[in-house]
Amino acid sequence: MDLDPIRLDFVPTPRLRRLAMVAGLAVAMAVVTSHGELLVVAVVPLVLLVGVPRSDVPAAAEVSVSMSTARCIEGDEVELVLTVRADGCDQVQAEPVAPPWSELTYLGTSREGRATVARWTLVPGRWGRHRVGPVRLRVHAGGGAYLARAAVEIGDLVVYPAAAALARAVAPTELAAPLGEHPSRSVGSGVEFAGVRPYAQGDRQRDVDWRVSARHGDLFVRQYAAERAFDLVLVLDTELDAGEPGRSSLDLTVRAATGLVQTYLRSHDRVGLVTFGGPLRWLTPATGPRQLYRVTEALMSVRPDRSELEAGPVGYGLGHLPRGLLPHRAFVALITPLLDDGPLDAVRVMLERGFAPLVIDVLTAAPTVPPKSKDAALAVRTWRMQREALTLELGSLGVAVLDWDGEAELTGGLVHAMRAARPGGRP
């Protein structure tokens, strides 16, 4: 491994000053009291000081730091490797600066020739673009009389969100887009059996169901369900983020969206994305691996950066969304923590445009109440009632609300919710 030289600027430690202080005190006391035997106390520190002169302290060390990968998914293990060669130094201590919400575990050291290799495991617990490092080095030399501090940069780590668990891509039975993988109610040229009907002129011979024909004494042909694609538009409410980091509402929003996007794009469906609350952003529905890349990149930037936080609310709601963005009969899923009236306004906009969205509630945290605080308890009760009122209002609009805690499998809830919500029309 190639090691890069780093300059070590050593400074005296308290140990050096203390050795000099003990020697100085002993000599001074011996001179003042004319007790020569006290010089013995000065001899030990003086010999130690002369034994490790400043000129013996090295001016540089060789170091390299590497990370096993620059991209990973939440919960993956990333190995950090530090290689140090510090000839003439007494001790080298290292402390990598881990990104927030990540776990760093020291694995140990090994020797590789004249260099020492130290290893750590980093497990990022939250998606995003994180800066890993630097590795802070503390190098001791001169018998502990000198200390040099240095920092070695590592690099950036892109942590993609872990996908919510989805067993399969479920879809409503009324689908519009042709050429997909979901069997629909209409008859077509799929592979899923849909029934039999009497033979008509022009039917293919290979579609004749001979068993049914023999039973009825007339020709019958098999029918198959048409296989259609599914247009899914995910609308993410990114205005508020509540809950502990790693399981906050925004974390769960992004994980749910990632799971849905991956599953439906794998089924060759078209998936679009809209984020509101912060800056209004959208991606028109499309399919294929390129869309997965686009959506993932868009999801990685939903957490507001410093400039967006400083800019405050942008003020562009879903009403500013281009009308042609949502395909006819698209299925809209609104992922939100339901913390304010923003989602209700978003649902109204969708209903006005002829879409009945499914709302996925991702709030898992509740405010903690200080004990013996009646005002706080009352505030929390009011907050709970407001959320219940919001859910009831959504219900009165005919919108299905699916609670998701970040752990449960989403498929079952989606099947149930899709019965209630029809794509591209009022329920």
């Binding site: 106390v41 001899v43 010999v47």
Partner: protein, 174 residues
């Protein structure tokens, strides 16, 4: 593990501090020595508790003054041996203080490399041997004379100057 290490470091500071003071004040301490010992003990307790460099330096200075005061005020026959032992224990106290303060400053840093223990111990052994030789030489029956005392003190000051020059932080040749 970190808590246990921190506790051991504090105990080491207190233990070596107590040992230095005990060796210095025994067997027959005078009042000024007792006062200095009490102050030194208090400083050691504070240094072990807060593990800050300033407190450590004060504790070491107080302990050194106690040893020197005891040596100056007590002229018993066992005193030279006590002074050598106290000098060694002072170095142990210095190392214990450095370890405790380092433990606090290093935080979660791990030790990647460390020189071997004979390499670390050799300078201390050499220094202790030199101290013992000086103590033995000083205990010889020599007729005291002004030139002899002056020569000894001049040698000590010269040694101090040489030690200081070895650590001068001037521009070094690359």
């Amino acid at each position: 593990m970190t808590v246990l290490r921190s506790l051991l470091q504090r105990v080491a500071v207190l233990g070596t501090g107590l040992a230095v003071i005990a060796v210095a004040v025994l067997p027959d301490p005078s009042r000024p020595v007792l006062v200095a010992a009490a102050l030194a003990l208090a400083a050691c307790v504070v240094a072990a508790a807060i593990r800050r460099p300033l407190a450590g330096t004060v504790a070491l200075a107080a302990t050194t003054v106690t040893v020197l005061l005891a040596g100056a005020l007590d002229a018993s026959s066992v005193r030279p041996a006590q002074v050598v032992l106290a000098a060694g224990l002072l170095m142990a106290l210095l190392s214990a203080l450095a370890a405790a303060e380092e433990g606090r400053a290093a935080g979660r840093a791990v030790t990647v490399t460390r020189s071997r223990w004979p390499q670390r111990l050799a300078p201390v052994l050499v220094a202790m041997t030199a101290g013992a030789i000086v103590a033995v030489t000083g205990a010889q029956d020599v007729v005291p004379s002004v030139p002899l005392v002056l020569a000894g003190l001049t040698a000590a000051v010269a040694a101090l100057a040489v030690a200081a020059s070895a650590h001068r932080t001037g521009r070094r040749r690359e």
